[in-house]
Symmetry: C2
Subunit: 86 residues, 2 copies
C-alpha cells in the first residue's frame, strides 16, 4: 500500500476510535467512570507527540493534534464534573 494512504487510513481509524467516547460524554454529560490519570496522561502524551512531529511529519502532526483536541474535551469534562453535578 502507498505509504501516504497507509498513514491516512491509520489516522482515520485512530481519530474515529475516539468518537464513541466523545459522543457518549457529550450526550450524557457524565464522566464518573472515566479515569482522570488515564486522560491526563494521554492528553499530555498526544500533545507532546504533536510537538515532536511538528515540521517533521505533517500527517502524524495533524493526527496527534486531532486526538489531543478530542482528549482535551474529555479531560475538560472530567475536570469540571463536580461543577455540573452541584
Amino acid at each position: 500500500m502507498n505509504h501516504y494512504i497507509l498513514g491516512l487510513v491509520a489516522s482515520f481509524l485512530t481519530v474515529c476510535s475516539l468518537f464513541p467516547q466523545v459522543l457518549k460524554v457529550y450526550q450524557t454529560q457524565r464522566t464518573r467512570d472515566l479515569s482522570l490519570s488515564r486522560y491526563s496522561m494521554i492528553f499530555a502524551g498526544t500533545s507532546l507527540w504533536a510537538v515532536y512531529f511538528w515540521e517533521d511529519n505533517w500527517l502524524a502532526f495533524v493526527n496527534e493534534m486531532l486526538c489531543a483536541a478530542l482528549y482535551s474535551y474529555l479531560l475538560y469534562m472530567k475536570l469540571t464534573e463536580k461543577t455540573r453535578e452541584e
Copy 2:
C-alpha cells in the same frame, strides 16, 4: 527540549496511560463496559501507524508497537468475554 527526549517522554506518557485499563481488565477479567468498535478501530489504527513508521522513525514505531500490543490484549479479552462468562 531535545527532540529525542521529547519523543521519549511522549511515548512514556502514551504507553503508561494504557496501564490503568489493562490492569483493571487483568484483575477483574471483565470487559463488559469496553466498546468493541473503539478497541477494534484503535488496535487497527495503532498497528497501521506502526507499519507506517517502520524504517522511518524507530521511536514512533516502538511506541505504536507497544500501544498495539496493549490494545491487542484488551481486544482479545473483549472478544473472548462470552467464553469466560459461560
